[in-house]
């Protein structure tokens, strides 16, 4: 990537200061809010970047950016056009948060076969154009995913500093259990609550389990996730499989798994 602006030198090496834009499609904008949240490091974070587009944080707008962070999923046709334009303008496109990566909470509506009914229920006599919610990678090539609902600011900081330094960006390959055990939490299963920690990609520092909320899988599947065993575990702890499927469906990262599970003995979508 060749980037114009300069950040000064790092150990004598000239550093690029990338121009970045933050964009939202269908989302709650909570991920962008996270970026403004960590006041202790906010100024240092912003000094690494030249922010040229950030509707939630500034008035000025420019389409001259190197890196685009895109939050949200695609739920309308006009968003596809906007996304393609962002892809055209940016050298690097980053899917920011679960909606952009997997469809997020928005994709829950995809469970309804009749979207017209959903529209009527939500918008009444003021219908809007809408389509099945989808991750942005369904429409454009993306360069990087940052998982989470919302994203973890510390992780974004680590990734951004690596982008600036030209270091490889990596994600943990292990599941949330690894971080949860390091935090010495009581296992949520022992407290009678289902938890997707064993199958969900870590990196959140077991944010929810550390606060005694079982993991809902917002970061999507860990590479070696063992879903067959998770189903056995849920049964052994007398937790209805439907509660497991609810969690797996919530953020969209486990769509294929849910389809498989429902196909092989999981309850159908109209049963409770």
């Amino acid at each position: 990537m060749s980037i114009q602006g300069s950040l000064g030198t790092f150990l004598g090496v000239e550093m690029a200061k990338p121009k970045v834009g933050f964009f939202e499609l269908s989302s709650c904008e909570g991920c962008q809010l996270q970026l403004l949240n960590n006041e202790a490091t906010l100024l240092e974070f912003l000094s690494l970047l030249e922010v040229v587009y950030f509707r939630e944080g500034m008035t000025e707008k420019s389409n001259d950016y190197d890196i685009a962070f895109v939050e949200g999923s695609i739920t309308r046709d006009d968003e596809i056009e906007r996304l393609k334009e962002i892809r055209h303008n940016a050298k690097i496109v980053v899917a920011l948060g679960s909606c952009a990566c997997f469809g997020g909470v928005n994709q829950l509506k995809n469970r309804f076969h009749d979207l017209e009914w959903v529209k009527k229920e939500v918008y009444g006599d003021y219908p809007i154009s809408t389509r099945k919610a989808a991750p942005i990678a369904d429409f454009i090539d993306i360069d990087l995913e940052i998982y989470g609902c919302p994203v973890k600011k510390e992780e974004v900081e680590r990734i951004v500093s690596r982008l600036v330094l030209g270091k490889a960006v990596t994600h943990p390959q292990y599941p949330v259990c690894m971080e949860c055990k390091a935090n010495e939490n009581i296992c949520l299963f022992e407290l009678g609550e289902p938890c997707l920690g064993p199958v969900t990609r870590a990196g959140c520092d077991s944010w929810c389990p550390s606060n005694r909320l079982g993991c809902w899988g917002c970061r999507g599947p860990a590479p070696a996730a063992n879903f067959k065993q998770l189903k056995e575990i849920v049964k052994r702890y007398n937790i209805p499989v439907e509660r497991l499927l609810d969690r797996l469906e919530c953020f969209g990262g486990f769509q294929n798994i849910v389809t498989d599970m429902r196909g092989s003995g999981g309850k159908g979508e109209n049963e409770t």
């Binding site: 790092f10 150990l11 292990y174 259990c177 690894m178 010495e184 009581i186 022992e190 064993p198 063992n226």
Partner: protein
């Protein structure tokens, strides 16, 4: 060994004498949904915090000598130069109060690898050298198989080891510090009667140990059964989540990461405890993974504990504390895995 005895009510006085230092001990962490007590090691703020009748803690006391994350060094960067800072993280003596024999044996095993090897680990050594250890007798749980691993009793690696008798404590005194400490409370040299009470208490404890692992010829049997089908079966269950290694008192494998702070003026090299069951544990530069399959990773954890370490040190790296089996959501326990590998030549539970 010097054996002394003191009245049970003097234990609080002993705690207070030690309390000029931070005291880490077993504390009640919470209760599960069946109302069973759950314990862990934590910094205590008073004698009342100590739950010395704990069965087993969920996690080992590892974070006090092998933290999950630890800076190996930090850097201050200037335009064309840098300063390196190394901090072993041992500023004060720490008292570990109430360790069971399994956990003290675990420290002794770690000492062999991390202090007595060709390349000692100064981070571990600094903390270990500044530790005062008060061991405490245990009441074995159904998952304890320490006796099979010769870790049910301990002869070194502690300052003081206390065994609860009826209304007194039998103290094994293993350091000058501990000897002088006991002089400050009401104590006396153990009598023949105390020796008998001690041996009775130990035999009562041993009766409670029900879980077993047959370790006879185990290194050879593991060699013979390298391709056994049972590994695949356990591998199919394994979640590759690293929980077993995290709760284990002797797992010491780690990875190293380097991070530059956001201000680009500071950086650190950080050590993270890792687990051989994690999918990328054996992934090397270029992307090749020597153990992409779950069962190969699970197998090597057993080979390290029960074969490689035994061949190198003539003892197992496993102390039989049972934590990995307790914590494993897939119910993979050492006695069952070893029994299955042995092909049913015992019925270890």
């Amino acid at each position: 060994m010097i054996f002394k005895v003191f009245p049970a009510e003097e234990l609080a006085a002993l705690y207070e004498l030690l309390a000029v230092n931070p005291i880490v001990g077993p504390v009640l962490k919470g209760r599960d949904k069946k109302d069973n007590a759950l314990y862990d090691f934590a910094l205590t703020s008073g004698f009342a915090d100590l739950a010395l009748d704990y069965g087993q803690t969920m996690h080992s006391a590892k974070k006090f000598f092998l933290p999950h994350r630890e800076d190996l060094c930090t850097f201050t960067l200037s335009d064309h130069d840098w300063d390196k800072h190394v901090d072993y993280g041992a500023y004060q003596h720490t008292v570990l109060f109430g360790l069971h024999p399994c956990d003290i044996n675990a420290l002794n095993k770690l000492d062999k690898v991390l202090m007595e090897s060709v390349y000692p680990n100064p981070f571990y050594g600094a903390k270990r050298s500044n530790m005062f250890i008060v061991g405490h007798s245990c009441s074995p749980t159904p998952s304890c198989f320490c006796r099979s691993m010769a870790s049910d009793s301990v002869i070194r690696g502690f300052d003081l080891f206390l065994t609860r008798l009826d209304d007194s404590y039998f103290a094994e005194v293993n350091s000058a510090k501990a000897y002088h400490l006991l002089e400050k409370i009401k104590s006396y040299h153990a009598t023949d009667r105390d020796h008998k009470l001690f041996r009775h208490a130990v035999s009562e404890k041993n009766k409670k140990i029900t879980a077993q692992v047959d370790t006879s010829d185990l290194t050879k049997i593991l060699d013979m059964e390298f391709h056994a089908d049972v590994w695949q079966e356990w591998g199919d269950k394994c979640l590759s989540c690293g929980t077993c290694a995290n709760v284990c008192p002797t797992c010491y494998c780690y990875g190293v990461e380097e991070e530059v702070d956001l201000d680009l003026r500071h950086a650190r090299k950080e050590k993270l405890l890792y687990s051989c069951n994690l999918v990328d544990f054996a992934e090397v530069a270029g992307g090749h993974n020597f153990r992409p399959e779950s069962h190969t990773r699970l197998k090597y954890r057993y080979y390290h504990k029960h074969r490689g370490f035994v061949e190198a040190y003539e003892e197992s790296l496993c102390v039989g504390c049972g934590r990995c089996g307790n914590a494993c959501l897939a119910d993979i326990t050492v006695p069952e895995v070893i029994a299955s590998v042995r092909g049913g030549d015992n019925n270890g539970k």
